[in-house]
Amino acid sequence: MTARSIVLLAMLLNLAMTGPAAAHRLKLFVTVEGNTVSGYAFFIGGGRPQGVAVTIRDAANAVVHRGTTDDAGGFAWSAAPPGAYTVSVDTGDGHAVSEKISADRFAGPAAPSPAAAPAEAAPEQPLPQKAAAEKAADPAPAVVCAPPDPAALHREVETAVDRALARQLRPLIEAQAQAEGRLRFNDIMGGIGMIVGLAGAGMWAAARRRRTDTGTPP
């Protein structure tokens, strides 16, 4: 077409590239700390939906929690028994997003993982030997403090590790959620290339059709 249109297109392209690389899509960031499901919804490129509906459903698709997002688009639900949930945010104007969280994201006393069982059983075996050795060495017990219950200790350590990991991983998961929806220059250029290719194919088809219609090359 004309050079002016191409200049116009280039100007608009330039505007799009230098402006906020923003997009029009709602995303959801969800994290689990202890038994609290929390997170926030955000529009890629800026903005958080405020006061919109948040729904949490369990694995059987029954609604277990309804709420609204706060001023920062955030929400939290702390009464979660461990399990698989789906968190959905719907702004009501055609933006909706949902995110699944699996049961193994939960931790804490309410959910002893199967892997914890052998670990708990293991320290019990040396106990009789230890007790027998103590009895033989000294009739007066030299125990200063009671040996901690291995199961309780295990739970405590697990909870502390989970909490620390959740705290450390949160920014990473957040960054990942942001990066997933970023507009990439390559994709934009690929899309424009696709349009140019389609136009070329259309013109080729039109030229062929006209040649067969008239029988003479244009």
């Binding site: 608009l12 923003a22 903005g47 424009i192 349009i195 039109a206």
Partner: protein, 208 residues
């Protein structure tokens, strides 16, 4: 907003939107002769890029639609341009669902096409300034046409959406103003330097 994701609309709405968009696309492709292809492709590319850029407005976020501009410059071929732009946005960036492509195409293309053809008597032989003013009105009304289309699609799908529709109209207000300014300037510029680009400025008989 105008990119409705999967799983929001009900099946009848999706089917009706798909049928409407298919008719529009068929008309658009029929009108797409060799001379019109580059123009359509350039506007499809502009639409593809420009509607990726969204700005937050209140509880939602908006982006330019360019429906009025496409209707004025492309006529019924706007369907083809919008459809290609939306397919690429859905596939590359996940904006809007694939199942809602028909509804989205109809919402974004139809108001501009209809309003541009209605404005034709006002634009025939108009001065560039007047053409710009008429184009601005067409663009603003096309934005509200799109808002009405989105609202109707949502309201027909589920009555849960009805309370939020007021928000949609509010967020579209600034958008309509911005689109009116952009389209007004572009059309008055084109009418001054290259009036043959705008089919709505020409009497119908000299159009191919």
């Amino acid at each position: 907003m105008a990119h409705i994701p999967d799983g929001v609309l009900s099946l009848p709405v999706i089917a009706a939107g798909g049928a409407g968009a298919a008719i529009g696309l068929a008309l658009g492709l029929r009108a797409l002769d060799e001379r019109e292809i580059p123009k359509t492709a350039i506007l499809a590319a502009v639409f593809f890029v420009a509607s990726l850029v969204a700005v937050p407005v209140g509880p939602s976020s908006v982006h330019v639609l360019l429906g009025g501009l496409m209707g004025l410059v492309l006529g019924v071929r706007a369907f083809a341009a919008v459809f290609i732009g939306l397919v690429l946005q859905a596939v590359l960036f996940g904006f809007g669902g694939l199942s809602t492509l028909g509804v989205d195409t109809l919402n974004m293309a139809l108001p501009g096409v209809v309003l541009a053809s209605l404005a034709r008597p006002l634009l025939l032989g108009a001065s560039p300034a007047r053409a710009g003013v008429v184009a601005a009105v067409v663009a603003a009304l096309a934005v509200f046409g799109t808002a009405a289309g989105v609202s109707a699609a949502l309201a027909l799908s589920s009555s849960d959406y009805v309370p939020a529709l007021k928000i949609i109209l509010l967020t579209y207000l600034p958008l309509a103003a911005v689109e009116a300014v952009i389209t007004g300037f572009v059309v008055s510029f084109l009418a001054r330097v290259k009036p043959e680009i705008l089919p709505v400025l020409q009497p119908p008989e000299i159009r191919p």
